[in-house]
């Protein structure tokens, strides 16, 4: 059962990313991405991380992609921007990608042995995560909140209409 779910989600994810690559329209790209993120959420759930899966769907697929769609709508291009014209860049990118794949596979080779799965039922419960957040990772937690405020203020300042324009 889990295997089937995994393969399903994986295939849908990869397919939607490929669709994003192939499609020329920004709006379609955004939608494809939303599908991909939802699948990722599912995959996170399969990895015994329910809280993270929820966060992924709410934040990523929900908030971030909404932002993207807003921007796409605001930009409102009449016709999409096409693919890369120069062919050699595509080939070059594929070659680089292949090299990258090989390298990364080699990197994680050591970790690819089947590991033992200990008592992982309650691995990603919110209770445990919360406890960890507020004790061991308190500082990053607080600083991240400041970061968010900074980003918020920054974004507003950036796109505010200037008075003298």
């Amino acid at each position: 059962m889990a295997h089937f779910l995994f393969f399903l989600l994986a295939i849908i994810c990869i397919a939607s990313v490929l669709g994003m690559i192939i499609s020329k329209d920004q709006a379609y790209n955004a939608l494809f991405l939303i599908v991909a993120f939802v699948c990722m959420g599912g995959l996170f759930g399969l990895l015994e991380a329910p809280f993270i899966a929820a966060v992924q769907i709410i934040i990523y697929a929900g908030a971030i992609m909404i932002l993207f769609i807003f921007v796409v709508m605001m930009i409102n291009l009449k016709k999409g921007v096409g693919q890369e014209k120069k062919k050699w860049t595509i080939y070059f990118a594929v070659v680089i990608a292949a090299v990258l794949v090989v390298e990364l596979v080699l990197t994680v080779k050591g970790a690819l042995e089947p590991a033992s799965s200990a008592a992982l039922e309650k691995l990603g419960s919110p209770t445990d995560l919360g406890r960890l957040l507020f004790t061991k990772y308190l500082y990053p937690f607080e600083i991240t909140s400041i970061l968010i405020i900074a980003a918020l203020v920054g974004a507003i300042v950036l796109v505010k209409k200037r008075d003298n324009e």
């Binding site: 995994f6 994003m20 690559i21 809280f51 990523y60 971030i64 921007v71 921007v81 960890l132 974004a155």
Partner: protein, 100 residues
């Protein structure tokens, strides 16, 4: 249970696909989206390792990554909007003020 290496392979594939997308596309928004794909691939790898090591730290990291990615997406999109306002284009090859 699903072996961890499946997730790792998937993460690698997604990351490489994101890289290809970045180089193949010409408009800024899609390039930005491809970066988000790369983030997610990394998150997947983190969670896979967290499960195999049996510790929760990996999940905390993913939590923070998602948060920071959100903040960065906000600011990045604001910049893209500004660029569009100024230059009326979102083609990345039209932005070359930093040449030389």
């Amino acid at each position: 249970m699903i072996p961890v290496n499946y997730f790792l392979i998937l993460s690698i594939i997604l990351f490489v696909l994101g890289t290809i997308a970045f180089f193949v596309k010409r408009d800024l928004i899609t390039q930005f989206m491809s970066i988000e794909i790369m983030f997610n691939a990394a998150n997947l790898a983190f969670l896979a390792f967290a499960k195999s090591a049996g510790s929760l730290d990996g999940q905390i990291i993913v939590f923070f990554v998602i948060t920071v990615a959100a903040a960065e997406a906000v600011v990045g999109l604001a910049i893209i909007l500004l660029i569009f306002q100024k230059k009326k284009t979102i083609k990345s090859e039209d932005i070359k003020l930093m040449k030389g």
